[in-house]
Symmetry: C2
Subunit: 134 residues, 2 copies
């Protein structure tokens, strides 16, 4: 499960809104030991990004899903992480997360120099779940 | 947004657990007017399937995400539906949902005859959200 999850290029982050409704967005991410990190980047989707941070600040329980779809359903699988999220605005944790993301995604390389003010969401992994057809 | 969502083969369904934590699973689905329908099939993932139904019965607010990932980030997009879910155990609504799913997915064709006891989750669409890079 860990191998499949770590190798994936995109996960879906589910959080709970302050009013108790669910929220879900795709995220680029990296696995760093017992944590999953992602960063709020600067592309024009700011309101959606802020929603997830607002949500995590109020309800830190989050769920992250990686799945593979194929019309051959014998190939289906998914892996989910349940954990606790925290918003990291700076410091060594922030720098380490950004460096790891820049290693996985070339698109984040400019963050190495720019020291973005963009927040990092760090999720401590508490539970792995998974399913595959076979 | 509707076209992209409807054509997708898989969506991610986010619900909220009775204890207030989020839950997310991939689902096969079909759009039927102002509703999104999916069915709990008979593959060996029963406990995960039941979790989503338990969640919706307690908190009917759900969120469904379709997204496309590409390492060329100018191609990224996602579409999300927020809505209200209901579990349909039988009747005309159930039959119509199963027929629609069997049209979209050949793997569900046997459901036409088998009249599965599998529950249908029907989500009434309340809000469309979307983002694309461009």
């Amino acid at each position: 499960m860990r191998r499949r999850f770590t190798a994936a290029r995109v996960a879906r982050l589910a959080t709970v809104r302050p009013d108790g409704r669910p929220h879900v967005v795709p995220v680029c991410f990296a696995v760093d030991g017992d944590r999953v990190v992602s960063v709020v980047d600067d592309k024009p989707k700011r309101s959606a990004e802020l929603a997830r941070l607002t949500n995590v600040r109020a309800q830190p329980a989050v769920s992250l899903l990686v799945d593979e779809y194929d019309d051959d359903w014998t190939r289906l699988w998914w892996v989910r992480i349940d954990g606790t999220g925290v918003v990291v605005d700076g410091g060594a944790d922030h720098a380490q997360a950004v460096a790891l993301l820049a290693t996985k995604y070339a698109q984040y390389a400019h963050y190495r120099d720019d020291r973005p003010s963009a927040a990092v969401l760090a999720v401590t992994i508490e539970r792995w779940s998974g399913w595959s057809f076979g």
